[in-house]
Amino acid sequence: MDIASLDYTLTELERITFKEEGYLVVEEALPPDVCDDLEEAADKVGAGERAARGQTPYDRLSVMDFIGKDDRFLELIDWPRILPKVWGLMGWNIQIYHSHLVYSPPEEPGNVSSTKRGWHQDSGRPNVEMESSPRPMLSLKVCYFLSDCMQDGMANFYVVPGSHLKDDMIPRDQRQVDPDDATPVLVPRGSAVFFDRRLWHTASPNGSDVTRKALFYGYSYRWLRPRDNMTVEHYFDRIDPIRKQLLGHTVTEKGYSSPMPEDVPLKAWIEEHQGVEAMAEWEQR
């Protein structure tokens, strides 16, 4: 873990923004050269998948479980400018549970409205099966933008700010229509957008001539099953213990439900470098 992470811990303003709005924009999360590298890796994976699936250049491409496909994707799981904010919002008992590469190319000429809205909260069944209200967060995603998304109409990520505590805000039969407060998140290339999985959000059509490229990294508590098959074990013999934790590795018999220190090396690292008080919230509850 890079000690430079300590320069990017969650600020109070960021915490309040995330808790109130359900999302948070961090610009310049990735420098341009890193964006270039990631874009090259993503293009390669995307081209392969598109060919394998027989997709046209106009089809939206979504590749889950992509972290194991290129070492450059591995670098983002503990990215110094981002991971400290994840643990600031979730504590130390975390893992990657889902990753998602999404390319939204320009719409086919004459067919611009082909992508309907699909408003949703993340995670599928847990939204039905947790009977309490408001439902807990369980997970959040960090979306890295590898292309500019500064104007509306560029396949923007749309959200309803503050909707993460409104469990059943949009009825099932109304999810193809924008609610009143629908807002496009306008960000430059290299930005990271954090969002609470409960935030109501949707993809949108791309009316521009630029393919929108985004990488989603989902972090959850370790007692949640991964949504991906987590095809990452080939990394295990050459990564540090914190990365192993983040990729879902556990050591002891009940390491997911009742973790021991060796299951969660991130905890000791944070406590040693940032201080025990940084994690006090997750001990006092």
Binding site: P136, M137, Y221, W282
Partner: protein, 281 residues
């Protein structure tokens, strides 16, 4: 499985579970079944104590029973209880924990201190950021009592009814040993106690001459990790589709969150037997 329809969750049981966090099903196991399970427990106890070098007079807490005896496997979809489990939780469930506890006679002197009150699932309770009064259920357990605990002092399972949604346990005075509303469950061999994982509960000392035995079967949604690393994939071939689901089978990780039909054969069984409405949620 037709027999499942004779043991569906009743409205009274559902209300008890939602309001009090538990209910009791008397005689869930026949006397003969209790004897057979006790024999399996004997074998399991010998193995476990040999392996751990455990002392026979100490409490034995053994997890992961499924592979230890065929009779433990047969409990996962027991006709007298399993229909009530999916009646409470729906069809997207699996087994996330199994445990047997043997509390020998006079395991502990009556100690003048508080019991180990807790909710199940450990870290989850600290990781939820919502108020404790609105934590979700996520999992539940069925406790099968194989010994007579109708008298107090026999390592009774203590609970605080209603504490699953009331925000925890309260001690009226600083030196009180029991929280307000606490009671020992007093049940006979063969009875099954269903309880919400959020219900505050505690083990207690056995101060009598009667050994206490109990089996716990924990069911959760399929998106929850199992409590211990119970990888039962090698048993899928010999199990029927619904058992396979309960043992943890999924077509992919995504199949636990957005299940396909083949992920959840239990849904199809319920649909066929009770109608579409029963699986609508």
């Amino acid at each position: 499985m037709d027999v499942w329809k004779e043991h569906l969750l009743t409205a009274e049981e559902q209300k008890g579970f939602e309001t009090d966090g538990y209910f009791l099903v008397e005689n869930a196991l026949s006397a003969g079944h209790v004897v057979r399970l006790c024999e399996a427990m004997d074998r399991c106890e010998t193995e476990a104590r040999d392996a751990k070098g455990g002392e026979a007079e100490k409490r034995l807490n053994q997890h992961d029973l499924i592979e230890r005896d065929p009779s433990f496997m047969d409990m996962i979809d027991l006709p007298t209880t399993f229909p009530k489990v999916w009646g409470l939780m729906g069809w997207n469930i699996h087994l996330f924990h199994t445990q047997m506890v043997i509390t020998p006679p006079h395991t502990q002197e009556r100690i003048e201190k508080r019991l180990g009150w807790h909710q199940d699932n450990n870290r989850m309770n600290k990781d939820f950021e919502t108020s404790i009064m609105s934590h979700p259920r996520v999992s539940m357990k069925v406790a099968y009592f194989l010994s007579d605990t109708r008298e107090v002092g026999r390592a009774n399972f203590y609970i605080v009814p209603g504490s699953h949604i009331s925000g925890g346990v309260q001690f009226a005075n600083e030196d009180d040993l029991m929280p307000e509303g606490a009671l020992p469950t007093q049940v006979k061999p063969g009875d099954a106690l269903f309880f919400d994982r959020r219900l505050w509960h505690a083990a207690s000392a056995n101060v009598t001459d009667v050994e206490r035995r109990v089996l716990f079967y924990g069911y959760s949604y399929r998106w929850l990790q199992t409590k211990s690393n119970m990888d039962l994939a090698h048993l899928y071939d010999q199990a029927d589709p619904i058992r396979r689901q309960l043992l943890g089978h999924a077509t992919s990780g995504n199949g636990r969150f957005s299940p396909l039909e083949e992920d959840v054969p239990l849904r199809e069984w319920i649909r066929e037997n009770l109608g579409e409405e029963a699986v609508a949620a």
